[in-house]
């Protein structure tokens, strides 16, 4: 009897224990498995704080590693309007009461606003919504302003931080660098074109915070890792870039030019050392500039080059052997061809010109007659090999290929005018590249603006470059440089393009500009293309100025001469050796 009772008790207890265990396990499963997601969400909503981990955008540096663009943290100052009331502040002399007006005055002193503006912001927000808890006081203030406002300890002022782009050199290479939007989206220039290199990817993470606001150690969970952008190294030399921009701006503004550009390129490598645009553009202050001035016209705006084109024509005819520097051509002031094409020369000159004379006097009638010795197909091939009608290897955003029609589409007039740079368009970069081919023994190197892209681990990626293109023979190239050097020594240029100890080859251009109604306006684009030192060309400098007050190349030559001197000093270009080959202008 006793044993049985004991057994029953034991069994009953066992059953109860099992039942309780089952109950607990059921509840456990309910919490841990069935409702896990909901509970997790509820808990993380209360405890965990999500945050964005910014993938920093990479720096852009010049060829010497000088910083051109970098990432900076900027701060938005925000206010909780409904809490914007007076508060007390402990100072050395005791507690003082600070009214919103006093606080606004303190903030305004840092943000350079008017205190009334800040009060208006608060009042406007409260007028819209009496419970308003958020309004911007100032956006994008720098770290110094942030520290200053933060130290004021105003309880109703809050901050948001945003990584933003800073360009320490301002407008130096600004037209090339482009800019990014306020949300970090690249919008123009190299920032856009090289996004694959410099772009960072934002990540996210969350952490838990105790009741006292202190982060609980070890609670950080990375949801998505951030990836920093790489460093983009350009071929640009920032000092020369600044000099080129300064010199161009000085001339362009004194001449009231509409726009202008200067390109400095290494002849042997095709590396762009400076690409100056006027009007220039400071990417720190985008809104201050007209949209059309925010890019690089040197890459994106093709124009009819005018007489600088004659060097390409001369190089082609010398290369095929149909002409030599001393080939004779009767070059009248005015010419009318059998196909109806007709045009005149710029100024009076003797008619008995050699090819050298045609180049020295920049005779349209002479060069078109000599150029016509070439078949159209052949002419087209030369122009294409010089890089016309196709974008360069740089692949700059919005880069233009210019306009080079196929030879069978040339009209009667442009069949001849193309010899002297009317009836086709090209960019300054294309023209500089064509001159580099002449300077580099007939071999046109690919144009480059980006030297390399280096990631955080130090892996260096250099952009793939196409092979150099053989345009003309080495001998023809040498002869063409000699012709260009004789232009300088024979004419008025010699007084302006003159660096003692250095031989310089150059060709001027004064191109008519389309007036937009199928004709030409009375304003011109004046250009100057220079190869130096002429005995072994190292650099090509090409400057163009649109609609200057004086339609003469004299407007730009002295600044180009200064730029040449600066390049010689900065890059340590060796003085010339030997004497120029002399070709006569007349027969």
């Amino acid at each position: 009897m006793t044993t049985r009772t004991t057994r029953r008790r034991v069994a009953l207890s066992f059953v109860i224990v099992v039942l309780i265990a089952v109950l607990f396990v059921t509840r456990l499963i309910d919490i841990q498995v069935v409702g896990a997601t909901a509970y997790n969400e509820a808990s993380s909503g209360k405890m965990s704080i999500p945050e964005t981990v910014y993938g920093t955008r990479g720096d852009i540096v010049d060829s010497a590693g000088n910083l051109l663009a970098t990432e900076r943290m900027t701060y938005d100052v925000t206010v909780s309007p409904r809490n914007a009331k007076e508060f007390s502040r402990k100072t050395e002399s005791g507690e003082v009461t600070v009214t919103p007006q006093m606080a606004a005055k303190e903030i305004a002193a840092v943000t350079k606003q008017s205190p009334d503006d800040i009060i208006t912001i608060i009042n406007d927000a409260l007028a819209d919504d009496p419970n308003s808890d958020f309004a911007y006081v100032a956006k994008g203030v720098d770290v110094d302003a942030f520290t200053a406002i933060n130290s004021l300890d105003i309880p109703w002022i809050y901050f948001e931080q945003n990584p933003s782009r800073a360009y320490p050199n301002g407008a130096v290479a600004g037209n090339l660098l482009g800019f990014v939007g306020s949300d970090g989206t690249p919008l123009a220039g190299l920032e856009l074109g090289e996004q694959d290199c410099v772009g960072g990817v934002n990540g996210s993470q969350s952490y838990a915070r105790g009741a006292d606001g202190v982060r609980i150690p070890g609670s950080t969970a990375v949801t998505e890792a951030a990836k920093n952008g790489s460093t983009l190294k350009l071929t640009i030399h920032s000092d020369l870039q600044w000099f080129a921009q300064q010199a161009l701006a000085a001339t362009a503004s004194s001449q009231n030019a509409k726009w202008g550009m200067t390109v400095v390129m290494e002849v042997k490598t095709g590396r762009l050392v400076a690409v100056a645009d006027y009007p220039t553009f400071d990417p720190n202050n985008i809104d201050a500039y007209a949209p059309e001035d925010r890019g690089s016209r040197a890459f994106t705006s093709p124009y009819e080059p005018g007489s600088t084109m004659k060097s390409l024509t001369a190089a082609s005819i010398v290369d095929t052997g149909v002409a030599t520097p001393l080939s004779q051509m009767v070059s009248p002031q005015y010419i009318e061809f059998p196909n109806g094409a007709k045009f005149r020369d710029w100024g009076p000159h003797p008619a008995n010109l050699t090819l050298q004379g045609v180049m020295s006097w920049s005779s349209n009638t002479g060069i078109s007659q000599l150029g016509a010795l070439l078949e159209p197909e052949k002419r087209y091939d030369y122009l294409a090999n010089f890089g016309l009608g196709q974008t360069t290897a740089v692949g700059f955003p919005g880069e233009s290929a210019g306009l080079l029609r196929s030879w069978d589409e040339w009209d009667n007039q442009s069949f001849y005018t193309m010899f002297f740079g009317q009836g086709l368009t090209l960019t300054s970069i294309q023209m500089a590249s064509a001159y580099a081919a002449i300077g580099n023994g007939g071999l046109r190197p690919p144009v480059s603006l980006v030297e390399s892209c280096t990631d955080a681990d130090g892996n260096v990626i250099t952009p793939h470059q196409p092979e150099p293109v053989r345009v003309i023979s080495e001998k023809a190239a040498r002869t063409t440089v000699d012709i260009l050097e004789n232009i300088v020594t024979h004419g008025w240029l010699t007084d302006y393009i003159n660096v003692p100890g250095y031989r310089i080859a150059a060709k001027t251009g004064t191109a008519e500009q389309a007036d937009g109604h199928g004709g030409y306006s009375d304003k011109f684009i004046v250009s100057l293309a220079v190869l130096f030192p002429a005995d072994d060309p190292q650099y090509v400098v090409l400057t163009s100025l649109a609609s200057p007050d004086s339609n003469s190349n004299a407007a730009i030559v002295s600044d180009v001469n200064n730029l040449i001197k600066q390049i010689i000093k900065t890059e340590g270009v060796q003085p010339s050796t030997g004497k120029p080959v002399e070709y006569s202008d007349y027969y």
């Binding site: 942030f146 520290t147 050199n169 301002g170 130096v172 202190v214 503004s253 201050a288 100890g501």
Partner: protein, 210 residues
């Protein structure tokens, strides 16, 4: 032989016949039996106590560690901001516009003519000519804007103005003072040169030559 063996096997055991107590207290060494109980109890209690203390200490140290980490992280943040602030200044100070401005403010003039001296035969190439003030290569005003320098330039101009104002004031006081006191001395008034910030000659290093 086999039988008596099986009999013995099935024979009732003598113990089961008498009501003998199956369990009985072990009476040997009663003193030693009590002592382990106290010992183990003590060990358990002490262990629990120690664990609790250790846990409290650990918790306190973790907690204070969290505050320390938070404090250090704040310090890292502040230092990061200071770093950003000074690099920002450094970067814009090294911009070509700023350097050109400084150089010109110091009265430096760029010589436009490149001249080389060849060491092998002492040949000078180029035409050596002195740099002429006012004939800078690219004019005196900066035409390549940099909005990052706006504040710096404004401050510098204000400072320059302040210095020139101070000089002017100084000169006036000196003139006024000397006339008032009617000092008939052929010595130049000392205070003017003493207060104007002129770099001390001792600050310029110069070699001692013999």
């Amino acid at each position: 032989m086999a039988r008596p063996m099986s009999d013995r096997r099935f024979a009732p055991r003598p113990e089961s016949l008498a009501p003998v107590r199956q369990l009985h207290a072990v009476t040997r060494n009663p003193g030693r039996k009590r002592r382990p109980k106290v010992f183990f109890a003590t060990v358990t209690v002490v262990t629990i106590f120690l664990i609790s203390v250790a846990q409290i200490l650990l918790s306190i140290s973790t907690q204070s560690g969290a505050y320390e980490i938070a404090g250090l992280q704040q310090q890292v943040k502040d230092l990061g901001r200071t770093y950003q602030s000074v690099t920002q200044d450094l970067d814009r100070m090294t911009s070509p516009q700023n350097i050109a401005h400084f150089a010109q403010a110091l009265g430096m003039v760029g010589n436009s003519n490149p001249v080389y001296l060849r060491l092998s035969d002492s040949l000078v190439t180029g035409s050596a000519s002195a740099a002429v003030a006012g004939r800078n290569l690219v004019g005196s005003s900066n035409l390549v804007p940099n909005s990052m320098l706006t504040d710096v330039m404004a401050e510098r101009e204000a400072a320059a103005r302040a210095v020139s104002d101070a000089r002017a004031r100084q000169a006036q006081t000196v003139v006024a003072g000397s006339t008032a006191a009617n000092v008939a001395s052929d010595r130049a008034p000392a205070p003017a040169s003493a207060t104007v910030a002129v770099p001390s000659p001792q600050g310029i290093p110069s070699p001692t030559t013999h």
